[in-house]
Subunit: 335 residues, 2 copies
DNA sequence: TAAATGAGTGCAATCGTTTGCGTAGCTCGT
DNA sequence: ACGAGCTACGCAAACGATTGCACTCATTTA
């Protein structure tokens, strides 16, 4: 700007006003300045702009914290956030917590310093203190949780409809003739785990089936599934179906069940939750609950931007639930 | 700082120096100021710091451009970049090009404005002009390419050893008794496609086998693989093995081959390239070339930071090749 | 003809830090 | 007693932009 001002024999203030189309600058000057700027491809220094406006205007940087990156669901969410953010003129700063509370705190600190306008976060499994989140809010940085929400905070959030998703999936199993449905869930201290279990339980009740505690296990990964499933299948009163908290676990079950010589889905039905890459790779392909990570990401970004731009009130926690969808494939019977 | 200065009756300059441990401030004052700052948890305004230093010092923001986010290899790379960057005090701004040239240009522009200290990028498939990259370099923003490098630019880059990876994989097929090995590759205008094909060809030659053009196809995704493989398998002189340019394609081949009633790996061997999620989900599990995305990401970040911090010269293009590793599983025979 | 109006500019402060330079006050040597 | 030298600090400019206010003319109005 200084250069432009010098070359055109005007003051920096005039240049500034001309470039921002201020009506108080005469037409000819304005156009001359704009043209000169264009020709010398001038563009404003964001840093300086931000410093100037730091009191009033937030930056356009959204902080995103993910527990891990190499993970289908989180990738989808990141994808959704990126799409929504970039479409609305924001960019994203991504950091992964590695499921570590300490790292999460560090990241929050760093993002605060770097003046993000808000943060979209899924808690680390480790996290049981929330001071860092509170501190952010007290510094005026709005927070939106996704997936793993913070139960102690009444913050804005986006989650999938775990309850109904599971309910529908289990109903589908029952309606296709399954009577003894095993449930492999995540540890119950996670909200999503509880919701999915409730969906399972209520679906059984709705169809007049009883809940057999012997069919319920805490198991949310493939290794564990492969370890515990053989015993499950060898018991006299073995299950004729499995509902797993995620696709990975379902794949573990599938591989064991096949190895033991059961036919899927004729003897054993299996249903997962995610609908990631895995679901169409296994044989038969996996019936699963589509988790719509991209949609979750978009909603989260939408809320955050709403909060930042004042469309949404910061006093009220916006809570959105993304509907799931059952994708029926080869590991369950058709009607 | 102003507040601290006022409260302690000194000038802002003194506060600044005290906080940066300048020896020209008396011990007592320095400690008093530091303590006061700590107690009122003061931390410097990065924006202002950057503005002040904008002439000399680069920011600590690394721009990362990925063609897509929901993709195993790119996720791994992102993971590697994030790890290396955060370990060395940088943060990453992530944007996806959606394989679109125009979007890529926009992103470069935006990142330039946002004063990233450098950019790590894999080109969109679309991209055939390179002005935007040249423009960045001319603005002093160093570039590091990964995966899809820009052949027209002599820029720093990290790629996997496609040639040797393929060579070893095909050798393994031959050594386990395969004689007619089909090759499904990506379009030959991509450098990685060419290298993999060369690895295939040279491995055949090395083992005294002839290259049969009838066994070579352009095919790099599952849908196409499922479409063209039946014909391939029905010809009189059908292949007894497949090498596919990525796991996804290999899975497509596997599903067709199984459906046609061939046994894997007894009648047909299959080898992929990536070693992503899919590889351990299919049945039998996929023999594949491990692409080590995380390592690629780390190397890329390492180069970029080297360039930024001056450890590496900007005049010389740093080119690194990440070694691949053959992971033998169930879709190929063992020795 | 003097005063009021208003369009078009420039000055200077500001955002929060850093830093070159100047200087007050002290000690010390001669 | 006076200048040199040193320590410890403050002043003010700078980074690149924005903006309230004042100012200069030319034009209109009474």
């Amino acid at each position: 700007m200084k250069d432009i001002a010098r070359e055109l024999g005007v003051s920096v203030a005039t240049v500034s006003r001309a470039l921002s189309d201020s009506p108080s600058i005469s037409r000819e000057r304005r156009q001359a300045i704009q043209q000169y700027a264009r020709e010398h491809n001038y563009f404003p220094n964001v840093i300086a702009e931000q410093l100037r406006h730091s009191r009033r205007n937030p930056s356009h940087a959204i902080g995103v914290i993910v527990p891990e990156l190499v993970h289908y669901y989180f990738s989808s969410i990141l994808d959704g956030i990126e799409s929504e953010a970039s479409a609305r003129g924001y960019h994203i700063i991504v950091a992964k917590s590695n499921e570590s509370y300490e790292r999460e705190v560090q990241i929050c600190e760093a993002m605060l310093k770097n003046k993000v306008c808000g943060i979209i976060v899924s808690q680390a499994k480790d996290t049981e203190q929330y001071d860092h989140f509170l501190h952010l809010e007290s510094c005026g940085v709005p927070l939106v949780f996704y997936d793993r929400i913070c139960p102690a905070l009444n913050a804005s959030r986006v989650v999938v409809d775990d309850y109904m998703g599971t309910m529908n999936a289990v109903s589908h199993l029952i309606e296709t003739g399954c009577k003894r449905i095993a449930f492999y869930g995540a540890p119950m201290n996670m909200v999503i785990a509880k919701n999915r279990f409730n969906g399972y339980r209520d679906s059984l009740y709705k169809h007049g089936l009883e809940l057999d505690e012997g069919l319920v296990r805490i198991c949310d990964n493939r290794a564990d599934a492969e370890r515990i499933t053989p015993a499950m299948m060898r018991q006299a009163n073995r299950p004729d179906a499995f509902f797993a908290v995620n696709d990975e676990t379902a794949i573990g079950i599938l591989s064991v069940v096949k190895r033991l010589g059961f036919s899927v889905p004729d003897e054993v039905s299996i249903c997962g939750f995610t609908n990631g890459f895995r679901a169409t790779v296994c044989d038969p392909m996996l019936t699963t609950v589509e988790q719509r990570g991209t949609q979750v990401g978009k909603e989260a970004a939408d809320i955050l931007i709403g909060l930042v731009e004042g469309t949404l009130s910061r006093d009220h926690a916006e809570k959105r639930i993304v509907k799931t969808r059952l994708v029926v494939r080869g590991t369950t019977r058709h009607l």
